[in-house]
Amino acid sequence: MHDLVNDLRAALGTDRARAEPLELALYARDAGVARGRAAAVCWPSSTDDVAAAVRIARRHGRPFVARGSGTGLAGGATPVGDPVVIVTTHMNRVLEVDTANRVAWVEPGVLNLDLTRSVHHLGLHYAPDPSSQQACTVGGNVATNAGGPHCLASGVTSTHVLALDVVLADGSLARLGGLEPDQPGYDLRGCFVGSEGTMGIATRIAVRLSPDPPAVRTLLLGFDSVDDAAATVSGIIAAGIVPAALEMMDALITRAVEDFVGAGFPRDAAAVLLVELDGLPDGVDAQIGAVRAVASERSARTVRVAADEAERALLWKGRKSAFGAIARIAPDYYLHDAVVPRTRLVDVLEQVYAIAGEHRLTVMNVFHAGDGNLHPLIVFDAREPGIWDRVHAAGDEILRACVEAGGVLSGEHGIGLEKREAMPWIFSADDLDAQARLRDAFDPTGAANPQKVLPAGSRCGEATRVPEGAWI
């Protein structure tokens, strides 16, 4: 162990690697619930440092796990198998802003919102905006193919990453993708984005910058029933409008948020929608009219267009404070992430409430309605004996209900450790084997973030085993 840290220190600098028990405890988990154990933690400051750390880990027979801000919710950065944790927070420079190509080259530790702020004066922004955008890193976004409210119209991370310099599991370097629109051969860049750190570590990332829309307007719609709200979502799409964002909050969460933020959300509504439209001023006005019409057809009782930027910001603050609002109701929550076809929203929501009821749990829903990305939130008090079993059981049933409605396991959090064992719910043995082949082609050693994404036994003939030091 000491040799490992000494080697890392020799390569990266004396203060750039540690292995004291208390230090390791700080890196035992991300924002998910799974806890693991690292052998050492290091903080590289360059691509060469990362490559050196990977090679040293390999030389000592250890796997490695990349970590940005540790805001992932699926345990993707949880160290399993006594790995070296490679933290990218020191690699936090915006290296180049190329306005002619509308591209920025960034290091992986740059925070998502910092990137957008650094190009704000140019009238540009980085489109993917996960709810944790103030804290999460672009490198982590690449690993999880992160989404966000505004990905409905503008697409998730993979559509905004043009090129990546990566350190592969053997310590070698590769550039995947490029600023040219196409590259000969396979789309390795596309394979890497969303691979949750199991194919290597991105050390330089070229992201697309999008021009700020000339006009942005946000509508708040309140309904007496979840059905009407969901029908309005479908109605907006049917009217030929794809809003920049389309978010739904149910009654419980709306009340909680209103009590917390006081943004003027209707406290007695069964559901509210936040609809954001952007583009050119005339078109946005026309779309506001169309959305109003759809909403009134569905007997919306509140139709409010934010009058100014301050009001708009307040509405979004309400939406993004959902978790804070919940903390006032119960001390703990478990946040789920699943996607169903938009047309099955009402149906699945009913099941979500029923499942929670059966397990005597409170569930709230605040989610990306536009793309059917549900975030059922179970609130509870962890001190209640046996509560975790009920929370997990309900969570599993909710996920099953989503899958049975034609949905998938995760819309933006990823699989990590959390949903690994659920992968066979949506993929056959052959499907999983194909995914394992792709992963293994990038990392034949299995050293890059081992035991994530794919359940044990995904490879044909592989023995099933439980990871050491992990509990979920």
């Binding site: 600023l179 000969p184 691979s195 799409i237 794809v242 583009g279 990306h368 990305n373 396991l409 792709l438």
Partner: protein, 349 residues
């Protein structure tokens, strides 16, 4: 044939037969409508296989559509149009099959606003060299469950597996759509427009496709001092290729292409330059010009003696490993990406 109500059972039977055929063949050559038959290297002789056709599931309110891979794009477009939607794969020849289009992976002229082809693919099903049916991705508009096999398959020219079925994202048709033109330089025009669908430049005139709310299209025409015009024609010529280059180098490259005697049309802001000439030599010259500016030229048609890519595959070892993971014996569509075929020496012999 009413494509909105497919006979799903027959598609399943077709897929099962396809699996058998692939499993038993020594060389598999997937075939669509042969509209991009010359993209990549020339296909070798082998067992021709075709994917079934038909719309499997279409839910307009979900903005998703699932089609069998052999479905001609024009049929898909017609079905979507009935509900005021489209899937902007924008093939040059609408007879192309959806599977063929995605396998070739060449994006359409509206990439500037709508992104590359791969962004529209949510789920793929394909038959592997061993004859297994594999699904990757998922049917919803948002999904991060597992590895991104759809992006691996798009542009893989049939060398990983034979696409049998895909789920695509759809989008409302724009309420208004107008081509326009101006003599002003394309970079100036681009700076003034918000989310134009396409900006094309042929060295003399800038052509713009504006789509969206009618009022916006009008406003943009005024803002850019653009005159309404007919859609532009693709550069004519039997020898065709497309150059990929960093977008900011397009105009400089254009001048070189003109000098080389090539006809060309560049997608401004994207970096794709469509090139055509009467002789294969024109493409050779265009390829040299592209290389000088850090780009490369893909041969799309004609010039049979010209190497299809003209550059070594980047990350060759990694590409080889990916290929070998799915098709270790090089049975899937050999010749289309010649460099990736295992043991090319034996293939030539």
């Amino acid at each position: 044939m009413d494509l909105t109500e497919p006979d799903v059972a027959s598609i399943d039977v077709d897929v099962a037969r396809l699996q058998d055929a692939v499993r038993d063949a020594t060389r598999v050559v997937p075939e669509g409508a042969r509209t991009q038959w010359e993209v990549g290297g020339a296909p070798r002789a082998g067992t021709l296989v075709r994917a079934p056709a038909g719309v499997v599931r279409y839910e307009p309110a979900d903005l998703t559509v699932t089609v069998a891979a052999g479905t001609p794009f024009e049929h898909l477009a017609a079905v979507l149009r009935e509900h005021g939607q489209e899937c902007p794969l924008d093939p040059r020849d609408a007879r192309a099959t959806v599977g063929g289009l995605l396998s070739a992976g060449l994006s359409g002229h509206r990439r500037l606003r709508l992104g590359p082809l791969r962004n529209w693919v949510l789920e793929v099903r394909f038959v592997t060299a061993e004859g297994r049916l594999v699904k990757g991705g998922g049917p919803t508009v948002k999904n991060v469950s597992g590895y991104d096999l759809p992006r691996l398959l798009v542009g893989s020219l049939g060398t990983i597996g034979v696409l049998t079925q895909v789920t695509l994202r759809a989008e409302p048709l724009p309420a208004a759509s107008q081509w326009a033109t101006t003599a002003r330089p394309p970079s100036d025009v681009r700076a003034e427009l918000f989310r134009p669908s396409s900006i094309l430049f042929d060295g003399r005139r800038t052509r713009v496709l504006l789509e969206g709310e009618p009022a916006d299209v009008e406003a943009q025409l005024r803002a850019g001092a653009l005159e309404p015009a007919e859609p532009p024609a693709w550069p004519p010529g039997a020898n065709r290729g497309r150059i990929s280059i960093a977008p900011d180098r397009v105009e400089r490259l254009g001048a070189r292409l003109t000098n080389a005697g090539a006809r060309w049309l560049a997608e401004v802001g994207v970096g794709t330059v469509h090139v055509a000439g009467d002789t294969p030599e024109t493409l050779t010259a265009a390829r040299e010009a592209a290389a000088e500016h850090g780009g490369w030229l893909l041969r799309e048609a004609g010039a049979p003696a010209l190497d299809p890519f003209g550059v070594p595959l980047p990350n060759f070892g990694l590409q080889q490993r990916v290929k070998a993971a799915f098709d270790p014996h090089g049975k899937m569509n050999p010749g289309r990406i010649p460099a990736i075929d295992p043991d090319p020496a034996r293939e030539i012999a």
